[in-house]
Subunit: 425 residues, 2 copies
């Protein structure tokens, strides 16, 4: 059955996914003479950079996500359909989804990325990913549940395991999460659980490489590590988790640790649809495209953002999987679409890296722009300002700002709520 979408005499541009890329694309096509159909498995856009604050009880989930229909309110050429992409049939210009089939004239795959457990079933079963709002809420529930259980425990080993949190992966997500957990440990949990001995609580960040934040400037890598250690985080470098059975974790260099909280932020992979030839997908699940975001060898299928890999001399493994790449690719796509209609030459993609930043804790962040890096309170203020600016919707900006102000003044994290109990399935 076909998805119920108005039949009009205009080219139909189908966008899969309303992440940073899909969102920008559909908005930029506002005045285009085309029918835009967006499919997403959620009815909201997620501001992923703040997920870790939802997981650590600092923000409401509802304040960092935004209803897709509200974003596109009044955009007459836009149609949202809530469903999940299943496969692409390029030869028929057709997709199949959980809600039916759909014909397209142009298809843009912007499905982003998913947590990559590198095929390890134990990690997938026993650890907590942190890639979407549900993950973040589950993690929030689990950590709080484990503290409630710790209070009840008569067993020393179990108590240690419940009070130990291991974060795997020293990229921005892992670093920001570890920092936020240290703040919970310092300012919030001891007043909640005065009966527990917080000297026993351990937060460990495990990173494969020799430094955290590998993609950042060396100054910032050192700075971030120093901040984390100051805040009480143990940073284990040059190692990874080799085994985890839900209780005992073992690192590659033989260290053992009892933990009921293993957070997996060690990597992501693209989420390509079925139906594309295997040679079009690299080993990280990313779809290979040319410099116009076109899936290699296909005429009217494109991929942008995390799911795409535009491999070049400068970026042999594709561009970094960050929001600015997705947004810039979306902008370029629209520019090129117009050029195509006018018969003008297309512009190849060139990534303009504006810099990057990560926050570690109160007055502690690392920022790098093109020519210089900085940290501390200025970095932290810059981080907050930029993230407020980027949040979708004025109301969300206000609510998040109030929460931040509140948390800063009161050393608080108000959302320590177990709304849905997390149970392993």
């Amino acid at each position: 059955m076909f998805i119920n979408v108005p039949e009009v005499k205009l080219p139909r541009i189908v966008i899969i996914g309303c992440g940073f890329g899909g969102l920008e694309l559909a908005k930029s096509l506002r005045h285009c003479e085309a029918q835009i159909v967006m499919i997403d498995k959620n009815n909201y856009h997620t501001f992923q950079p703040l997920l870790y604050q939802v997981a650590t009880a600092g923000l409401e989930p509802d304040s960092i996500i935004y209803p897709i229909r509200k974003i596109f309110k009044g955009q007459a050429n836009f149609h949202f359909r809530w469903g999940e992409l299943q496969s692409v049939i390029p030869e028929k210009s057709l997709i199949t989804t959980s809600i039916g089939e759909l014909r397209y004239d142009h298809l843009i795959i912007a499905t982003g990325s998913v947590t990559n457990f590198f095929g390890n079933k134990d990690f997938e079963a026993g650890s907590m990913p942190m890639k979407n709002v549900t993950d973040a809420l589950n993690l929030r529930s689990l950590i709080l549940q484990n503290f409630e259980m710790a209070l009840l425990s008569y067993d020393k080993d179990e108590l240690d395991a419940l009070m130990t949190i291991m974060v795997v992966g020293g990229g921005p997500t892992g670093v920001e999460l570890a920092g936020a957990l240290c703040e919970l440990k310092k300012h919030v949990l001891p007043t909640d659980y005065p009966e527990l001995d917080f000297a026993k609580m351990r937060i460990i960040l495990v990173e494969n490489g020799k430094e955290v934040l590998a993609t950042m400037h060396p100054d910032n890598r050192i700075r971030a590590c120093k901040y984390l250690e100051e805040m009480g985080c143990e940073v284990w470098l040059n190692t990874g988790v080799a085994k985890y059975d839900g209780l005992k974790a073992e690192t590659r260099d033989g260290k053992q640790l009892l933990t009921r909280n293993l957070i997996w932020s060690a990597g992501v992979s693209g989420q390509p649809p079925a139906g594309l030839k295997p040679e079009l997908i690299n080993r990280r699940g990313r779809v290979l495209t040319d410099e116009y975001c076109r899936v290699r060898g296909l005429e009217n299928i494109y991929a942008i953002g995390d799911v795409a890999s535009m491999e070049s001399e400068k970026y042999p493994n594709g561009h970094p999987q960050v929001a600015p790449v997705a947004i810039q690719q979306a902008e370029l796509w629209v520019k090129n679409y117009r050029a195509m209609l006018m018969g003008r030459p297309l512009t190849p993609f060139e990534y303009f890296d504006k810099g990057s930043m990560a926050t570690i804790g109160r007055n502690k962040a690392v920022v790098e722009l093109k020519y210089f890096t900085f940290g501390g309170m200025p970095g932290w203020l810059a981080w907050m300002g930029l993230h407020l600016m980027m949040l979708v919707g004025f109301r969300n900006k206000v609510i998040v700002f109030i929460n931040w102000l509140w948390n800063y003044i009161n050393y608080e994290r108000n959302m320590r709520l177990i709304i849905r109990v997390f149970k392993r399935t």
Copy 2:
């Protein structure tokens, strides 16, 4: 196994439930020479009067609930344990719970009430209750999911069923919910779903009695009904739902209606623990107490709030199941506990009814105080002021106030988010 609680040489007062009653009780025992242990199946207190706004996408769930540990921060004689009461063994002064056993010197049952389906399995399986945050979030998801499905539907009957919402029960919850749904219909959903014909959307409130808000003043019953009809709600009086199979609802007087959204707010029953003699529990599941909140015939077990029924000449079926009763009983319990310690006579409970109120929509509410009733905008402002005042925590007050202001100015409901898909089990 016993629940891990410090053993001290003080009387142990165990409170089950952190609703309005339990919360007030534990707070008032702040300076008492006693060990207070509170057990609740949630780690938060719920401000139930605003649940319907969570269900209708007007408020974040996190803003109307509050972490119990935070409420009692610094109260040294207070211990919270996250668990569910299973049974009471009066002869041993012992309770059993999901997390172990616990001995008490005084036990206060303040477990509140649950949705009452009056034993009808079809209603329980097919309808949506509205008694806690999870219910409210499920309802929010379901209504939004059904609108997303409506867009895809090729079947006229199915489309009608998806766009029809039936609210069963014309008490405050039903009336407030029906009003909020009418506002969604008028101001929010049409811009979200411009492809749907909202003349087809129906909201129906079904009430057994001959008027809505039966416990209120006759003026207000008429006023509320008029408001609802002005807002586009169909009010079916003197009837109830006889059958519902998940699609087709049939009323007692033979009317049929196709709906995929049946909300059950037709009644609550107490949630008494196992272990009390059946003759101590009335047919509405409420525990019979004397005028000192003591469970009849038992020395050191008490019940307060919705779960208790202190039947008297003036209240032959017990007091109304509202917050003020629970709070006043909690206050009295503490007063009597002190009197008991001092060997002074106990004071019997007398309910001081300060009045009641319900909001129906924008500038539309009904309020009654001891000597007069009013409605309209003054009522609506009074309703908002009182509810803001009663919300626990300054941060929650601020966030809820901003949301209300925002929604009022923009005719908005921002939280139209399907965070967890609702699936029938």
